[in-house]
């Protein structure tokens, strides 16, 4: 079977799975089966079939499993968001349409040769920094839940950091491809830009109060640096620098101290600072092995008040864990693992340094972001608010991740084409 036909078959399977998921929410809600559940599944499938056709036209040789996996993740996310709040689900549906638009645009624009991006690497670097600092511009920025991550332009409310992540990866891929040999020699003068990036990450962390973002950007940077130079010392030194910086930030910013306190013992202030974490843990524990089933979890108290604040964005994992149970949520995590595996496979197959670094950066960014938020929820690391790729409610995140997906498909298409030629 050709690559694209495999993609098509996988997408149909995903469509059926998502249709079933939505139907179960619908049954739990209305206590009757309704044709609406079917039409929802069909609409969703139709949307991804369009994406599939675009992939067929632009990247015929790309990996056939990434798009279906992204479809599965957005489908599960949308189902859970629908279950939590129908209005949010409608908006999320629109964002998925816009995201697929961005996906199509990226593929069409770069279908000839995405490597031309390398020539504009510094532009991407500056763009990333500009986007990151955008929320701090007076009059534009908006503070949500203590972090300055949002930009309000007219009716639009978005998180530029999500897009900045991709620009940063493109910049790093280009920059590291060029400098990898000199960097590997450990000369101080070549290390300058690295300290600059470390400084920028710290600055972003302090200015925007975005701990998760800081960790994500710096993690991506270290990973790509390691792949480019093969020097573990960079990773070790970088980690120390980050931990040192974080420790300095810890003593300076009360919000960070609070987060660490919650991480260590959320029950110390179960109705105050620790409330969200405590409620989230009850939610996860309530899932048990089999879960409550889609649409049958408990997310409000008997008066109808929401138990977990931000349950459909940062804490969507807690909701999914309750309704899917250990069995379902492990399958869900395995989708992330498979997505990462396919991404790293693309990086391995790619023939040039820029493509390899780009694929590694995009894949690792995806994986690390999932780890930061889920690990935070599970108290493996302190909690930092960040979206779960493809699943959380939120426009910027959805759009950015579809661009990331398009990037991986472009690299994959070229690699497979080269292998065939």
């Amino acid at each position: 079977m050709s690559l694209r036909n495999r993609e098509l078959v996988s997408l149909v399977v995903v469509g059926v799975v998502v249709g079933f998921g939505f139907a179960s929410v619908y049954i739990a809600r209305q206590e009757v089966v309704n044709s609406a559940s079917l039409s929802y599944g069909l609409f969703f499938l139709g949307l991804y079939l369009v994406a599939h056709l675009i992939a067929r036209m632009t990247v015929p040789n790309a990996d056939p499993y990434l798009l279906p996996m992204a479809g599965l993740l957005t489908g599960i996310g949308l189902t859970e968001i629908y279950r939590l709040d129908e209005n949010d689900a409608f908006k999320q549906g629109l964002w998925i349409v816009i995201g697929l638009g961005a996906f199509a645009a990226t593929l069409f624009l770069l279908r000839e040769d995405f490597r031309k991006l390398e020539s504009y690497k510094y532009l991407f670097g500056l763009g990333a920094i500009a986007l990151l600092l955008l929320p701090s511009v007076p009059g534009l920025g908006d503070t949500v839940n203590g972090a300055r991550l949002w930009v309000d332009v007219g009716p639009l409310h978005f998180q530029p950091g999500e897009l900045a992540k991709i620009l940063l990866i493109v910049f790093l891929a280009g920059y590291l491809r060029e400098k990898r040999e000199v960097l590997a020699q450990f000369r101080l003068k070549d290390l300058g830009p690295l300290f600059l990036i470390w400084g920028a990450a710290m600055l972003v962390l302090v200015v925007t109060n975005d701990l998760g973002g800081g960790l994500l950007y710096f993690g991506i940077f270290l990973a790509m640096l390691y792949v480019a130079t093969a020097q573990v010392w960079f990773v070790v030194a970088g980690s120390f620098l980050f931990v040192g910086g974080a420790a300095a930030v810890y003593s300076a910013i009360p919000r960070v101290q609070e987060r660490v306190q919650i991480w260590l013992d959320p029950w110390k202030d179960a109705y105050g600072d620790g409330y969200q974490t405590v409620q989230s843990q009850y939610s996860i524990a309530n899932g048990g092995f089999g879960g409550t089933g889609f649409g049958q979890g408990t997310f409000t108290d008997s008066a109808g008040h929401q138990l977990i604040p931000y349950v459909n964005t940062d804490f969507i994992y807690s909701a999914l864990a309750q309704e899917l149970g250990l069995i379902g949520i492990c399958a869900f995590l395995l989708v992330y693992m498979l997505f990462a595996a396919r991404g790293f496979r693309i990086a391995l197959l790619a023939q040039d340094g820029f493509s390899k670094l780009l694929a590694v950066g995009l894949t690792f960014a995806f994986t690390l972001q999932a780890f930061i938020i889920i690990g935070g929820i599970l108290r493996i690391i302190p909690l930092t608010g960040i979206t779960l790729p493809f699943v959380s409610y939120g426009g910027s995140s959805i759009v950015a991740n579809f661009v990331l997906l398009a990037g991986l498909l472009l690299v994959s298409d070229r690699a497979n084409e080269g292998a065939r030629a």
């Binding site: 739990a28 279950r83 480019a228 409000t300 949520i329 599970l378």
Partner: protein
Amino acid sequence: MNNQISRLAVASLVLVISLIVGTTYWQAWAAPSLANRRDNSIKVVAQFSIKRGNIYAADGSLVARNVRRRVGGQTLYFRRYPKGPLFAHPVGYSTQARSRSGLEQARNDYLTGSNTNLATLLDTTLDKLRGSTIEGNDLILTLRPRPQKVALDALAGQCGAAVVLEPKTGKVLVMASSPSYDPNLVERNFRRVQRGTGPCPVAPLLNRASSGLFTPGSIFKVVTAAAALDTGKFTPESTFYDPGYCIEYGQRVNNYDTSTPFGTVNFTQALVNSINSSFCEMGKRLGPQTILDYARRFGFYQDPPIDLPSGERAPSGLYQGGKLLPRSKERDADPGRLAFGQERMQVTPLQMAMVAGAIANKGVVMEPYLTDRVRKPDGSLLVKMKPHELRRAVKPEIADEIASMMEGVVTGGTGTAAQIPGVRVAGKTGTAETGHSGRNTTWFISFAPVDNPRFAVAVVLQNQSGTGGSTAAPIAKEILQALLRSPSKGSG
């Protein structure tokens, strides 16, 4: 670069595996302990997703039912109490904000279908698998609405309580505590409930019948008489000389009315006329430990074994500083005052109804109970509660002797206000003085009919200026009349 990419891929794999391990920890390993935490709001809500069983009075009328409401995509069931304050204390409430009380708490397992009877276990497991609502079992109580209403109405405006037991079985037919409250208001308007209403708005949530502690006064003489006769140290013909007082520790202990001493009286006359000096002499001869041993036989010094939450039952006995006096200090108790129900003796109306019931039931104390039957959601019988003997308090012939003395109290003693034409009524009055006028605690314990006792009553009133005979006895009479009128349906 491929080596580094492979290593990074392995690192990413480890990250995702750590997430799987973390999730497994919380969902499998830590889940039970999290589920048991009191502040687990999901478990609180889960209680409301169960369709609790209905509660019915003995005549089949509805006491507690559910209203369905959809909240956050879930169907939740909230309690309604159609009879309002009538059964507030024994039945209690089931709310989110205030948890549960009364039978709603004590019988929560049956009402939520989480009891471990095989039939229920099978039903709820099937419900869970089908994903359908779990239905709890229905309760049918021993309480009778009409006498209950008569009791609550008679107590209205006062602080007090009334309990009626069926002597042969221990079934609680009436359990009224005044002031009462509307359990429908507990969830949303708890402050108003706590404030109370009427001339005596003190502690409306307290079930005075089972956990209110009061000084018994002369009704305790029934226990003393049981000890005196059952030990064989006295007979109904034993005589006493009453000068109007008794000397204890070199001090005079006065009768209720010292102006008209009775002179030489026998045991029966002493009880019928409630002569303190005679019981004081009796107490001095018996000693405090013998009296308290007999009190224990009637059920004192333990939580009454009734189906109410432990927090809503109080043991009767000698109290000091809010706690039961330790056994080692009992022999220092003042025997004379103890004999006529003073000292530091504190009793619940439920306990005194058990005493009256034991005398009526040939000396055997029955365990009181409020739940008569448990019915499955489909209407079939799940459990029929059986009467349990608590223990024998006195020999049958001693019980008969005391019963005829108590009948004398009503026919020609302090309790004539409880006479019912055509029915032989036995009783004992009590007036516990607090030293402040208008602050007496007045009592009447009674059973009827004497030849075939069907009802044992205890009535207590707080803050009275009259005597037990003039205040509590008429209420007991009213309740008994209501019971004698109402058909004894469901008392088989």
